[in-house]
Symmetry: C2
Subunit: 354 residues, 2 copies
């Protein structure tokens, strides 16, 4: 089976699969509680929070929608600059919220001052932001946007880190992020099916006042069960075993070393692109460090490049997402990759380019 360098799901290590293959345990007993508790310190460190980190048996969209349902107030502002952030606006309307958006071109980033101008119109009490727009390789100015949002009292900020979680520092508490969420099939290098998220005290207070939160994604149910190191519904136990192995790995490597490794692996791909004259689709200063999105040059037969890379070398990269499919291509460096494995990919890509 070819190895994935697409921006999620990514390659899962043998050690993670071995951890996931541990015999089942009941989820209403002390063994499960110990498993749950063991995950908390590392997840809190990665999220930059002292709040409990909840474990949702769902992909990220479940928690993205849940955040709207739990905190849905008067009016939500969706910050849109790619496939996933654009869709969050659609989902806001789908669940019946009053929603407005700032829309910029895919590949561009949202200016914090544009957020200030929009929020100044008044009436908003919720903002959604994708930290790492995996469709375009753009990393948002999280600090700048959070600072603006926090200057409007009563406006809560929901952030889907997507492919940045565990690849770059995120300071949830310091920045005043109200919901921070991440699917585990991105930089955490697990198979999909689990989303980790944390909720600020302000957001929990808002949730308490929000009717029709439902059951499966009710933040209050997550909080109540978290006190007993448990989940409201039957959790994806194998993925939690896998996450435990990943968190042990991260602790052994050291969080700052992990961040540095992602940065240097990412720099290798940037240098490779530069050598070939490939233009980064994301603007300087707002480029993701866990994946790279290149504009496809006219001289490149992208389909043939991707196909030969897979059939000849067993590596899979991605040929662009949604409306920029074909005109861009994406290479992930997140998860367990090393200088050596990135070099293998680069050598293979160079071989195919000839």
């Amino acid at each position: 089976m070819p190895k994935l360098f697409i921006p999620g799901p990514i390659d899962v290590s043998k050690e993670t699969f071995a951890a996931m293959s541990q015999p089942m345990i009941g989820h209403r007993g002390s063994e499960f509680e110990a498993l749950y508790a063991s995950l908390q310190p590392g997840l809190k460190e990665l999220a930059g929070t002292t709040r409990p980190v909840f474990l949702s048996t769902s992909s990220a969209w479940g928690v993205m929608e849940a955040s709207l349902r739990n905190l849905g107030g008067k009016k939500v502002l969706n910050l849109c600059n790619g496939a996933f952030s654009d869709k969050w606006f659609d989902v806001s309307k789908k669940i019946g919220l009053d929603a407005d958006k700032i829309q910029v071109e895919w590949g561009q980033t949202i200016d914090p001052e544009a957020v200030r101008a929009k929020l100044s119109e008044g009436g908003f009490d919720l903002v959604t932001l994708i930290h790492n727009e995996t469709s375009t390789g753009v990393m948002a100015d999280l600090e700048g946007i959070a600072k603006v949002v926090k200057s409007f009292p009563g406006v809560l900020l929901i952030v889907d880190s997507v492919s940045s979680f565990s690849a770059v520092p995120i300071e949830m508490d310091k920045l005043g992020i109200d919901v921070l969420l991440a699917g585990v099939q991105k930089a955490l290098a697990l198979p999909p099916g689990l989303t980790v998220f944390a909720v600020s005290e302000d957001a929990m207070a808002r949730a308490k006042e929000t009717p029709n939160r439902g059951y499966y994604f009710d933040f209050l149910e997550f909080a109540k069960n978290a006190e007993a190191n448990n989940t409201p519904s039957t959790p994806a136990i194998s993925l939690l075993f896998g996450l435990q192995q990943i968190m042990e790995n991260i602790a052994a490597e050291g969080v700052s070393n992990r961040f540095a490794r992602h940065a240097s692996n990412n720099a290798m791909i940037h240098a490779w692109g530069e050598k070939h004259g490939f233009k980064n689709f994301a603007p300087e200063g707002n480029q993701s460090v866990s994946l790279t999105c290149f504009a496809t040059p006219e001289s490149l037969d992208l389909s043939a490049f991707i196909k030969t890379l897979k059939t000849k070398h067993g590596f899979v990269i991605n040929g662009g997402y949604g409306k920029i499919k074909g005109t861009t291509f994406r290479i992930s460096n997140m998860g367990n990759e090393t200088t050596e494995t990135m070099q293998e990919l680069i050598d293979a890509m160079d071989d195919v380019l000839g």
Copy 2:
């Protein structure tokens, strides 16, 4: 690690874990579509339907709530006789539906004629039923209740098979079940994190008319994506690989042989209980064939029995759920168990009983 004979999660085989350890594939490509398509014939056979079987990355509660949200009409009738069916009534109210219930004692079964009387009061357009109340070991009179519900035009029937799916025949189309769902950590013997479900044409038509279905659990999104052998959101790929292995196993064994094996394994536990004078908590004629729930006799020190069985023999059975914890205990025979493995458990239990 001890082997689980609790009614879910249950023991997962080495072969299933090996299948789950296959390298990741992208979920928007032909390999994933082939995986998805390969699951359909077997799942349809188990559900007794020609409708597509959807794959939800969630535990069963997600789809139980989703069924209410997608079909929620004027008034729902919840049939309550155990922990999970009782909770379905609470969840109905939690999401703002007008809900009424038939409540009988835990361990009892719901009389189809009681359903007829209640529905005759008028105003209902939705009924929820737990087929196999895993908290009490009671199997509902699915055929009798479905027949009654179907005699009321415009009333839709939602059935959570729970621990009966793949252990007994279920005829969704023939009985006119409108939503049939099952978590995979019961008789399918996978780790938790995935729920399979099918939706009738009538229920899909109702969903189309229902506002605020949301996104993550929107039946229309599932139907649209199913046409392309895909899921609305990133699916739990490893669990789908595992399910593929299970479905191949089921095809090799033969569905009717699988049903017969569950019946005979269950009979072994019944006979064992009879030998010791243990009373079945479920009434004759409505006893589950995938698990057995016994009333704890006064002469039995249940905690000591369970503890010694685990420490001395490495087998885990369950000491009762919710308000019948301690006064009942439960033994699962679902999944991959054989005459030999059930006999090992029985010998161990006899050894502990002395």
